[in-house]
C-alpha cells in the first residue's frame, strides 16, 4: 500500500509540475476526467493520436519551409492551425502558445521566424512527449501496483 501511495503522490506531484511549468493546462485535466471504465485508455489514446498528428504536421511544415524561395505559407498556416487545434484540445499549452506565434509569422510570411518557431514547436513537442510518457508510465505503475490513478482536482 505504501508503494501505491508513494506512486500516487509522485504522480500527483509530477502532473502538478507539468501544469505549473505550463506544459499542460486545464483541458488535459478535463481529458483525464473523461477517462472512465468505459474507455480506460482514453487519455493515452488521444495523446498518441496527438503525437502522430504532430509528427506528421511538423514534417509537413519542415518540408514546406525547406524551400529557399516560394514557400507556401498558406499550407504552413493550415498545418499550424491544425496543430494549434490539436494542442488546445489536448491541453498542450506550450505547444499551442508557440503555434500562436508561428501563425503570426506565417501571416507576415516571415520564413526566418517560421523556421525558428518550427524548431521551438519540435522542441516543445518532444519535451511534452517525454513528459507525458513519464506520466503514463507512472500511471501504469500505479495500476500495476493495484492502486487507482488519483484524480486531479
Amino acid at each position: 500500500m505504501d508503494v501505491v501511495n508513494q506512486l500516487q503522490r509522485q504522480f500527483l506531484d509530477y502532473s502538478a509540475s507539468l501544469h505549473r511549468e505550463g506544459f499542460l493546462d486545464d483541458q488535459f485535466t478535463q481529458l483525464q476526467k473523461l477517462q472512465d471504465e468505459n474507455s480506460p485508455d482514453f487519455v493515452v489514446e488521444v495523446a498518441s493520436l496527438f503525437f502522430e498528428d504532430c509528427e506528421k504536421l511538423i514534417n509537413n511544415m519542415a518540408r514546406a519551409l525547406e524551400q529557399q524561395q516560394g514557400v507556401d505559407f498558406k499550407q504552413v498556416d493550415a498545418s499550424v492551425h491544425q496543430l494549434k487545434g490539436s494542442s488546445s484540445s489536448i491541453g498542450a499549452m506550450r505547444v499551442k502558445n508557440v503555434c500562436i506565434a508561428f501563425r503570426s509569422f506565417c501571416e507576415a510570411q516571415n520564413r526566418e521566424g517560421c523556421l525558428r518557431c518550427l524548431q521551438q514547436v519540435t522542441q516543445e513537442y518532444s519535451l511534452l512527449k517525454n513528459k507525458l510518457q513519464t506520466l503514463f508510465r507512472l500511471e501504469q505503475q500505479i495500476l500495476a501496483a493495484g492502486g487507482s490513478v488519483p484524480t486531479i482536482e
Binding site: S39, F42, G85, S86, S87, S88, I100, E153
Partner: protein, 1002 residues
C-alpha cells in the same frame, strides 16, 4: 486557457485586418480626388492663360468694331461725295444747255434774219432777264468770228477797234473774235478779242472744231477773282450738213458764245444746300493734265482727315476736259468709344469671371483638402475607438481566464482543512474574485455594446418565469435583510413574447440587484404591464378617490402607513395602491369581458411593455441623479466604499433597454426610495410557434390547481394583489379579505347557505397581520370552525412570510396553520410546490423537475450525435466528452463525409460541426445539409404526411458550430447558414449544457 490564447490571436488578426481596411480607405480617398484637386498646381497658370486669352479676344473685338465703323464712315463719305458730284454735274449741265439755247437764239436771230434782230441792247436785256436760268454763270457774251481781211470793215461798222485782253489794240492776226454782244455783268469785255487770250483761243478753236461746248482750265476770273472756267459754244451761220467735217465746221462758224462759270461760288452754293456741309471738305480738280492737277475749288492746304479720301468723277460735258471731286472728312475719325468701351467691359467681365472661377477652384481645393483631412481623422478616431473596445474586450477576456483559475483554486482551498482565519481569508478572496469576474463581464458587455457587437436575439420566452428566476436569485439576500421582494405582471401582458430573454434578465437583474443593495427595509417591487395601460391609470386617479371608501374591507389602522407593498413610502406615487388598484380592477373588468375575444392590440406585431422596479432604499442624491446612467459613475465615492460596485451596471442597462427599442427613466427621493421604469418592445408570438416553443422553454406550471378557490388575508392591498397574481397564474380563483374574521365569516356564511359562491380550499394569511392583530382570536375561530363544519371540507390555512423564526412557526402550527409556510418572495412554481405539499396533490411534476434539473448526462443520454472535425485529436476529444455524457457518437473527418452520413433518412439527433475545415467548411456543409432537408421536407409534404420515415414533423437536425473563437464567432453567420447555435471548443460543460438544452427536451 486554450480558448483565451486563440482568442487573442484572433484579435491580433483582426487588428491586421483593420489596418488593411484603413489603408484601402486611404487609397480610396486618393482615387476620389477631383479634376480640380488633381491640377491644383496649374490653377494660377490657368488663370493667367485665361486673362491673356481674354485680352487678346477683347483686342480683336475692338479692332473688328473699329473696322466696321471705318467702313461705315467710308460708305457715308462716298455716298455724300457722289451726291455732291452728281448735283454739281446736273446744275452744270442745266447751265450748259441754256448757253446752248442762247447760241441757237443768236444764230437764229442774228444771222438768219437780215437785218439782225439782235443788237447789244436786246442781248443785254434778254440775258439779264434770263440770268436766273444760269445761276452759275457770272455772265455770257457773244464774240463774232472776224478774219483779218474783214477787220477794217468790221471795225468801221462797230465803231471800235478790236482790242486784246490787255485792252490794247489788237495786233494783226489771221482771225479775231471780238465780243459784240455781252450781258451787262460782263460788259467790260465788249470789243475784246477772245482769241488774244491763250486759254480762250484754244477753247474757241476746239469748240468750233467739235461743235460742242468746251471748257477752259480753271483760272482767276477777271471780275471776281474767284476761280472759274469759261464755257465756249460755237455759233454757225448756216445749217451744217448732217455729218460735218472739221473744215466744214470751221467754215460755217459765225462766232462764239461764251460764259464764265464761277466754280467756287457754284460749289459753295451747292454745298450750302446740302446737309453735313461742315462734316466734309470738298475739292474739285481739273485733271486734264494728269500730272498737274489744277484746283478748281477748295483749299489747297492739306487740312482735314487726309487718311480717308473719296474721289468722284465729274463730267461737265466736255470730253476733252476731265474733272474730279475729292471729298474728305473735315475732322479726323474720332476714337470709337463704343468699341473701346465694349472691348474694355468685355475684358473686365471676363477678368472677373476668371477670378471668380479661380477663387471657386481655390475654395474647392481647400474644402476638399479639409474634407480629406477630416476623413482621415475620422478613420483614425474610429480606429482608435475600435482599438479601445477591442483592447477592453481582450484585456477583460485575458483577465477572466486566470481569474477562473484563481477562483477554482480558492474553491479547492476551501475544501481542504483550514483554520477559521484561513477560511475567512480564502472566502474573502473568493468573494473578491467573483466580484472581479462580474465586473469584467460587465466591462466586456459594455465594450461589446460600444463595438456594436452586441446583438439582440429574437426568441420566444416566458417573461413571468424569467422574473421569477431573477427574484429567486435575490430571495435569500432580501430575506436576510427583511425586505419584501415581489413581482406583479399584468394579465394583459402576453404569456410568451419574442425578444432576448438573456438581456431582459440582465436588465432586471441589474435593477433588482441595485435595489437590493441599497434597500435595508421596506420592499422591492417589480411590476410589468403594457405601456398603453398607464394612461387610463393616470386618468382614473380622480375616480379612485370616489371609490376609495367602498372598498371597505381594508381598514387602515395606521395612518402613517402608505399604501405600498410594504407600507413604506415609495418615491413614485404611481405605484401606490390608489393607481395600482385601479390598474388591477381595470384589467380584471377588461379581462373578464373579453376573455374569449381577441384582446385589442393583439393583432399588432409588437407589444410595448413597461417595467418598473420600485424600492424603498436610500434613494439617489439629487445632485447625482443626472449622471446615474453614465458609466463608472456612482452617487459619490463613498457609495462604492459602502456598497461596492462600479456603477457600470446602469449604463449597460440603459444601452440594453435602448437596444430593445425602449427608454429608461427613474424617480428617486433620497431616504425614500427609487423607482426605475423602462419600456421595451417585444414581438408577439404567433400562435403556431407559441405552442411549439412553450414546451421547450417554459417550466410548465402544474395544472392541478385549476379551479381551486383561495382567500388571501392581507390588509395591504398591493401585497394582496401580488399574492393573487401568483395564485391566478396557477389557475386558482382568489379573493382578498382584510382580516381573518371576514374571511372566516365569508366561509361560514357560504357554508351554511348551500349556493356557495366561494368555498375556499385554502386561506392564505400574511404573517405580520396574523401576529399583530388576530393572534389568539384566530385560533379560537379556527377551532370553532372545525367543530361546526364537519360536513365541509375544511380550508387549509397557509401562512405567508418573508422570514419566520422557529418560535413563530410553532405558534402558527398551534394556531391551526399547516406545516408549510410559503416563504417570500413568491414565485408561481414555488407556491405551486408548497401548495402541492399542503394539499397532497400528485407530485408528478416534482419528479419531472428532478430530471429536468439533472445534468447534461440526462440530456445527452442515448442521443446519437455526429461530430464533424478535420482534426483527429479534436474529434477524439469531442467524441470522448460527449460519450462521457452518455451520447452515442459518430465521427466524420470532413464536411463531405458528414453530408453523406446525414443523407435522409438518418438517425442522428444532433450534429456538432467544426467551422474551419479544408475543402468544405462548416458553414458550407450546413448549408448543403439544410438544402437536403428542405428538399426532403418538400417531398414529404407533397407525398402525404404520414409516410414511412416521417419521424417528426420535419427533418431538421440541430447543428451546433464548434469554435474556439467565442466572442467573434459571428452568431449571425452561424444562424445565416442554418446552424442552431454554437459551443466553444474545447467543450465547457456549462456552455454545452446551454446550447444543448434548446434541442433536447426531457
Amino acid at each position: 486557457m486554450g480558448l483565451k490564447l486563440q482568442q487573442s490571436q484572433h484579435q491580433h488578426q483582426h487588428q491586421h485586418h483593420s489596418v488593411a481596411v484603413k489603408v484601402n480607405e486611404q487609397t480610396g480617398t486618393k482615387r476620389g480626388y477631383t479634376f480640380i484637386q488633381a491640377n491644383r498646381a496649374w490653377l494660377p497658370k490657368f488663370l493667367l492663360l485665361w486673362v491673356m486669352v481674354m485680352a487678346f479676344l477683347s483686342t480683336w473685338i475692338y479692332k473688328k468694331m473699329d473696322a466696321d465703323i471705318k467702313v461705315r464712315r467710308k460708305e457715308v463719305l462716298s455716298s455724300m461725295c457722289d451726291e455732291r458730284a452728281r448735283m454739281l454735274q446736273d446744275q452744270f449741265s442745266v447751265s450748259v444747255n441754256h448757253v446752248h439755247a442762247l447760241a441757237i437764239l443768236i444764230s437764229t436771230f442774228h444771222y438768219y434774219k437780215n437785218p439782225s434782230a439782235i443788237d447789244q441792247e436786246t442781248f443785254a436785256e434778254y440775258t439779264a432777264r434770263t440770268a436766273f436760268e444760269r445761276p452759275l454763270l457770272s455772265g455770257v457774251a457773244y464774240a463774232e468770228r472776224v478774219v483779218h481781211s474783214e477787220r477794217g470793215e468790221f471795225e468801221k461798222q462797230h465803231g471800235w477797234t478790236i482790242k486784246t485782253m490787255q485792252r490794247e489794240p489788237s495786233p494783226v492776226r489771221d482771225e479775231y473774235a471780238p465780243v459784240i454782244l455781252s450781258q451787262e455783268t460782263v460788259s467790260y469785255i465788249e470789243s475784246l478779242d477772245m482769241m488774244s487770250g491763250e486759254e480762250d483761243r484754244e477753247n474757241i478753236l476746239r469748240a468750233r472744231a467739235t461743235g460742242k461746248a468746251v471748257l477752259t482750265s480753271p483760272f482767276r476770273l477777271l471780275g471776281s477773282h474767284h476761280l472759274g472756267v469759261v464755257l465756249t459754244f460755237p455759233v454757225y451761220k448756216s445749217k451744217l450738213p448732217t455729218r460735218p467735217t472739221v473744215e466744214e465746221r470751221i467754215e460755217a462758224t459765225a462766232g462764239y458764245l461764251g460764259g464764265a462759270f464761277d466754280v467756287e461760288s457754284l460749289v459753295e452754293n451747292l454745298l450750302g444746300q446740302l446737309a453735313g456741309k461742315q462734316a466734309i471738305l470738298v475739292n474739285v480738280y481739273d485733271i486734264t493734265n494728269s500730272s498737274d492737277h489744277l484746283i478748281m475749288y477748295g483749299h489747297q492746304n492739306q487740312d482735314g482727315d487726309l487718311a480717308l479720301l473719296y474721289e468722284s468723277k465729274l463730267d461737265f460735258g466736255d470730253p476733252f476736259r476731265k474733272h474730279t471731286m475729292i471729298c474728305r472728312y473735315q475732322q479726323k475719325a474720332p476714337t470709337s468709344w463704343t468699341a473701346l468701351t465694349t472691348a474694355f467691359l468685355f475684358f473686365v467681365i471676363c477678368l472677373l469671371v476668371g477670378y471668380i472661377l479661380y477663387g471657386a477652384a481655390i475654395h474647392i481645393v481647400k474644402v476638399e483638402d479639409d474634407f480629406h483631412e477630416m476623413q482621415e481623422l475620422k478613420v483614425r478616431a474610429e480606429a482608435a475607438d475600435v482599438a479601445k473596445s477591442q483592447f477592453l474586450a481582450t484585456v477583460s477576456h485575458e483577465i477572466r481566464t486566470p481569474m477562473n483559475g484563481i477562483l477554482g483554486m480558492l474553491a479547492l482551498l476551501l475544501d481542504t482543512d483550514l483554520s477559521s482565519t484561513q477560511r475567512d481569508y480564502a472566502q474573502t478572496a473568493q468573494v473578491c474574485g467573483k466580484a472581479l469576474i462580474a465586473l469584467i463581464n460587465e466591462v466586456l458587455d459594455r465594450a461589446k455594446i460600444e463595438a456594436g457587437k452586441l446583438e439582440m436575439e429574437t426568441v420566444p420566452f416566458d417573461l413571468r418565469s424569467i422574473l421569477d428566476d431573477v427574484l429567486s436569485l435575490f430571495s435569500e439576500k432580501s430575506r436576510n435583510k427583511g425586505v419584501e421582494l415581489a413581482v406583479f405582471v399584468s394579465d394583459k401582458v402576453p404569456e410568451m413574447v419574442m425578444g432576448d430573454p438573456g438581456r431582459f434578465r440582465q436588465i432586471i437583474t441589474n435593477l433588482v440587484g441595485n435595489s437590493v443593495k441599497f434597500t435595508e427595509r421596506g420592499h422591492i417591487f417589480v411590476k410589468v404591464h403594457l405601456a398603453e395601460n398607464t394612461k387610463p391609470v393616470v386618468d382614473a386617479k380622480v375616480e379612485t378617490c370616489l371609490n376609495g371608501g367602498s372598498d371597505g374591507g381594508v381598514p387602515i389602522s395606521d395612518a402613517h402607513q402608505f399604501k405600498t407593498l410594504s407600507g413604506y413610502e415609495a418615491a413614485d406615487e404611481r405605484n401606490s395602491w390608489d393607481s395600482f388598484k385601479h390598474l388591477v380592477s381595470y384589467e380584471e373588468s377588461r379581462y373578464d369581458a373579453s376573455i374569449n375575444m381577441t384582446v385589442p392590440g393583439e393583432t399588432s406585431q409588437s407589444v410595448t411593455l413597461m417595467v418598473s422596479v420600485e424600492d424603498t432604499g436610500i434613494g439617489i442624491p439629487l445632485i447625482a441623479q443626472d449622471r446615474v446612467f453614465m458609466p463608472f459613475m456612482q452617487a459619490d465615492s463613498s457609495t462604492s466604499r459602502n456598497y461596492g460596485g462600479t456603477g457600470i451596471g446602469l449604463s449597460i442597462t440603459k444601452c440594453l433597454v435602448e437596444l430593445m427599442g425602449g427608454h429608461i427613466s427613474f424617480v428617486s427621493r433620497p431616504q425614500v426610495g427609487s423607482t426605475f421604469t423602462f419600456t421595451a418592445d417585444f414581438g408577439r408570438c404567433k400562435k403556431a410557434s407559441f405552442n411549439d416553443t412553450k414546451k421547450s422553454n417554459t417550466e410548465d406550471l402544474p395544472s392541478s390547481f385549476r379551479g381551486l378557490k383561495a382567500i388571501v388575508v392581507d390588509r395591504k392591498p398591493v401585497r394582496a394583489a401580488v399574492t393573487r397574481y401568483h395564485l391566478k397564474r396557477l389557475g386558482m380563483l382568489a379573493e382578498v379579505a382584510g382580516s381573518v374574521k371576514i374571511a372566516a365569516s365569508a366561509c361560514g356564511k357560504n357554508g351554511s347557505s348551500c349556493g356557495s359562491k366561494i368555498q375556499p380550499d385554502i386561506i392564505l394569511v400574511e404573517k405580520d397581520l396574523w401576529l399583530s392583530v388576530e393572534d389568539g382570536g384566530l385560533s379560537l375561530r379556527m377551532l370553532d370552525w372545525k367543530q361546526n363544519g364537519q360536513a365541509f371540507k375544511l380550508p387549509k390555512m397557509v401562512l405567508l412570510a418573508t422570514n419566520i423564526t422557529n418560535v413563530e412557526l410553532e405558534k402558527a402550527k398551534a394556531a391551526g396553520f399547516v406545516d408549510t409556510v410559503i416563504m417570500k418572495p413568491m414565485r408561481a412554481s414555488m407556491v405551486a410546490a408548497c401548495l402541492q405539499q399542503v394539499l397532497g396533490i400528485g407530485n408528478k411534476k416534482q419528479a419531472g423537475k428532478d430530471v429536468q434539473n439533472g445534468s447534461l448526462r440526462s440530456l445527452l443520454c442515448g442521443k446519437k450525435i455526429l461530430v464533424v472535425d478535420d482534426n483527429m485529436v479534436n474529434r477524439r476529444v469531442a467524441a470522448g466528452a460527449l460519450k462521457k455524457f452518455g451520447a452515442a457518437v459518430e465521427c466524420a473527418e470532413s464536411g463531405k463525409v458528414a453530408l453523406k452520413l446525414l443523407q435522409i433518412p438518418h438517425s442522428f439527433d444532433a450534429c456538432f460541426m467544426d467551422i474551419q475545415m479544408p475543402e468544405m467548411d462548416g458553414f458550407e456543409a450546413t448549408r448543403q445539409i439544410r438544402m437536403m432537408e428542405s428538399q426532403a421536407n418538400e417531398q414529404m409534404n407533397g407525398s402525404g404526411i404520414d409516410k414511412g420515415f416521417a419521424r417528426k414533423g420535419e427533418w431538421h437536425v440541430p447543428i451546433l458550430a464548434m469554435t474556439a473563437d467565442v466572442i467573434h464567432a459571428t452568431y449571425d453567420e452561424c444562424l445565416k447558414c442554418g446552424m442552431d447555435g454554437y459551443v466553444s471548443k474545447p467543450f465547457e460543460e456549462e456552455n454545452l449544457y446551454q446550447a444543448v438544452t434548446k434541442f433536447f427536451k426531457v
